[in-house]
């Protein structure tokens, strides 16, 4: 009898524990599978920002009563590694959502595997419209946050038109684009040509885009003097170079060396080298990006992200992939909250309807792009290095400074 009582007591305790333990722990965590190039600053800081976002979500009680687990896999900037990472996350880790991404080349290798499993994917990287074509219109499980290359190009023209309208002294009619001779630079230049053909002055005259390739330092080059001389000879209103961060400071040094200071000097690498802003040669250089640290002055979410990131990692976010990665996790979490389930159709519908105030500044909403159904951001921002900081020039609603024009001459630095 005594023995039966003891068994009954133990069972009662066991059942109580089961009932008291939140259902979430019993079900296990919700898994986010992220793929990033961890050796690159974009992947390194992107992964850190994602971990920060997940930590904040879990501290606030998780999602659907369950904790969130982030599994990060390094794609090493290699398409085959990126594709294998998708396979592993879906089949071994059995993640609920795929996130991350940076390089278009890697993404092109991943898309066939993603299409095989059709797991809900919210991709923050890859700007090449070749990826968009590879994904295709039928992929309702695919969400893309970064603007496509043609959207970026269109937003630059929109931005410069707006600046010119506001400040007519800023001439924008004659452009010279020096671009790195690889796929990235050449594709950017070619994408710009048809857009320039339809970009007319208020008087109806066509604006001109001239250009010439150079060998990037990233590929064994590093001597830009010839292409800079050619640009100087054409006397452009705006000089734009499209290359990598390794080219950034040497281009400025060599432009100074040959005395080339166009009225607007734009650099368009995916990221800037450490300490670029500290060089006096950086002053007045215009750039494009989705985010700048100064956005924290005009966006509360961006300010929260900035402070939390520095507190967590004791370093400043230096690439827009950090707030974008933070947004990537936050947007998915918001969608799951809205859907109240991880069921695929419901989650897709919820993500379609989610309006997420992001750390990059804008409110993220989903609209169709040229090919896919679910495109997030469509615009880049025009920024400028001023006194070592990236200031937002356009869109004007996020502007933290005015365009310094013309580009200061080399002897006045």
């Amino acid at each position: 009898m005594k023995y039966q009582k003891s068994i009954f007591l133990c069972m009662a305790i066991f059942v109580s524990i089961l009932l008291l333990v939140p259902a979430g722990y019993a079900q296990g965590p919700i898994k986010f599978g992220a793929i990033l190039p961890l050796a690159d600053i974009t992947g390194d800081q992107g992964a850190k920002a994602m971990k920060l976002a997940v930590k904040e979500i879990n501290r606030a009680g998780g999602l659907l009563g369950r904790q969130v687990e982030l599994i990060v896999v390094d794609d090493e900037m290699k398409p085959e590694k990126g594709a294998a990472a998708v396979e592993k996350l879906v089949t071994v880790d059995k993640v609920d959502v795929l996130i991350g991404g940076m390089s278009s080349g890697v993404h092109l290798g991943q898309i066939p595997i993603m299409k095989k499993y059709e797991k809900v994917t919210v991709w923050m990287g890859a700007a090449s419209s070749r990826c968009e074509q590879a994904v295709g219109a039928a992929a309702d499980w695919y969400f893309h946050l970064h603007p496509w290359d043609y959207q970026q190009g269109a937003s630059y023209l929109e931005g410069w038109s707006a600046i010119n309208q506001k400040r007519p002294e800023v001439k924008i009619d004659k452009w010279f684009n020096s671009y790195e001779e690889g796929a990235f630079g050449t594709a950017s230049f070619k994408a710009g040509q048809p857009q320039f053909a339809n970009w007319l002055t208020p008087q109806g005259k066509p604006r001109t885009l001239d250009g010439e390739p150079f060998k990037s330092a990233a590929l064994g080059g590093g001597d830009y003097r010839t292409v800079l001389r050619h640009a100087k000879e054409t006397k452009p209103d705006i000089f734009l170079w499209t290359g990598y961060d390794a080219d950034a400071l040497p281009i400025m040094e060599q432009a100074k060396e040959i005395g080339f200071a166009p009225p607007v000097f734009i650099g368009s690498p995916p990221g800037w080298p450490a300490a670029f802003g500290k060089s006096p040669l950086a002053e007045g250089v215009t750039l494009y990006g989705m985010w700048a640290p100064s956005i924290k002055e005009v966006s509360k979410v961006s300010k929260h992200f900035w402070d939390a990131y520095i507190k967590e990692y004791n370093q400043e976010p230096a690439t827009y992939f950090a707030p974008l990665a933070y947004t990537n996790v936050g947007f998915v979490a918001e969608g799951i909250k809205k859907a109240k389930t991880l069921e695929k159709a419901a989650l897709i519908k919820a993500l379609e309807e989610t309006k997420y105030v992001s750390a990059v500044g804008e409110t993220l909403t989903i609209k169709p792009s040229n090919v896919i159904k679910h495109q997030g951001f469509t615009k880049q921002k025009i920024l400028q290095w001023q006194k070592g900081q990236q200031q937002v020039i356009w869109p004007f609603e996020f502007a933290t400074s005015q365009l310094a024009y013309p580009f200061p001459s080399w002897d006045k630095r």
């Binding site: 010839t226 950034a248 040959i258």
Partner: protein
């Protein structure tokens, strides 16, 4: 009187003829042929496109500077060091670290880099290179290729793949002649290439250690028979070469962004230059670099032909190697 005068004329004519014949015989040598072509090109370019001449010379000397230590190893130790560019990359990071932690200018860091990389060279030779000297060439290639990979990943772990560039004011120094403005800092490459080349030639031809090294390079077994310590010579030459390329890394990083993969393309270019000049021909490397540097800049100076620069670079190399091979076959 008449006879004497005639005799003198004959004598003078014989001297002149001998001098001309000597010159002609020298011109038959490939180095002198390359020199004449270079001088003619330089005169034309100076008048027509001065920036091609100046910037071509500067670039050419950078290529020569990087290729010379590789040629030294290949000529004497007999190993194609595929980690050559990676040693330069580490030299660049070494100078960068010295600048960050002690404020030392990279051009001053050349001297500690020489010492540090000499020691690194000794360690590399003693622990790795020594064991493959007698191995098939493919094994040697794979080993140095593996070494290059290790060094790249090591740099990736320590400094990440993010490019680093020190903002140095003096690298954008320029001069103006009339309406022509050109950079003056890269003349440092010309000076450095001259110093390294002259130093190596003096060492190899005027010192007993250098002559012993040449003997080892030509016939290691014979050198051993006459009492030269072959292993110690290999160690010295390998370490000297690594010391030089490490120090060159410090000069290189003043003007270039550095990242783990920055050295790899220069391994390829250096090897091609050595193949073009002929193994062991240090002077030839300078001339070949001049031709390639000037030709490359000449092509680049025409808008729309930038893509031809690399094609021309490698086409010239292929052409020279093919001609040399045919000449050898004829002999």
């Amino acid at each position: 009187m008449e006879r004497v005068r005639t005799g003198q004329i004959v004598e003078i004519n014989a001297d002149t003829l001998r001098a001309v014949m000597t010159l002609l015989s020298k011109l038959k040598q490939s180095n002198y042929q390359i020199a004449v072509i270079s001088i003619v090109l330089a005169i034309i370019l100076a008048a027509w496109k001065p920036h091609v001449l100046i910037e071509g010379l500067q670039r050419a000397c950078l290529y020569a500077l990087i290729a010379l230590p590789m040629a030294l190893i290949l000529g004497i130790v007999g190993i194609i060091n595929l980690a050559h560019g990676e040693f330069m990359m580490l030299g660049a990071y070494f100078a960068y670290s010295l600048n960050v932690y002690t404020g030392m200018d990279p051009l001053v860091a050349v001297f500690p880099a020489l010492i540090a990389f000499f020691l690194i060279g000794i360690a590399t030779y003693r622990t790795i290179i020594k064991y493959v000297l007698g191995a098939p060439e493919l094994n040697q290639l794979l080993l140095t290729f593996g070494l290059a990979m290790v060094m790249e990943q090591l740099a990736n772990l320590i400094w990440t793949s993010r490019p680093i560039k020190l903002p140095l004011k003096y690298v954008s120094a320029s001069a103006t002649i009339g309406s022509f403005t050109f950079g003056t800092f890269e003349f440092v490459y010309i000076g450095a290439a001259g110093i390294v080349l002259a130093g190596l030639l003096l060492f190899l031809k005027r010192t007993s250690t250098g002559q012993a090294a040449l003997a080892v390079g030509q016939n290691p077994r014979g050198a051993k028979l006459v009492g030269i310590h072959v292993d110690r010579t290999y160690l010295l030459i390998f370490s000297l070469s690594i010391a030089l390329v490490g120090a060159i890394g410090a000069i290189f990083m003043t003007r270039h962004s550095i990242f783990p993969l920055v050295g790899a393309p220069f391994t390829m270019k250096s090897f091609c230059l050595i193949a073009m000049a002929g193994i062991g021909n240090l002077m030839g490397i300078l001339w070949c670099s001049l031709i390639l540097g000037l030709a490359e800049n000449f092509v680049l100076s025409f808008r729309g032909y930038a893509g031809w620069a690399d094609i021309l670079f490698f086409a010239l190399i292929v052409g020279v190697i093919v001609i040399r091979s045919r000449q050898r076959q004829v002999k």
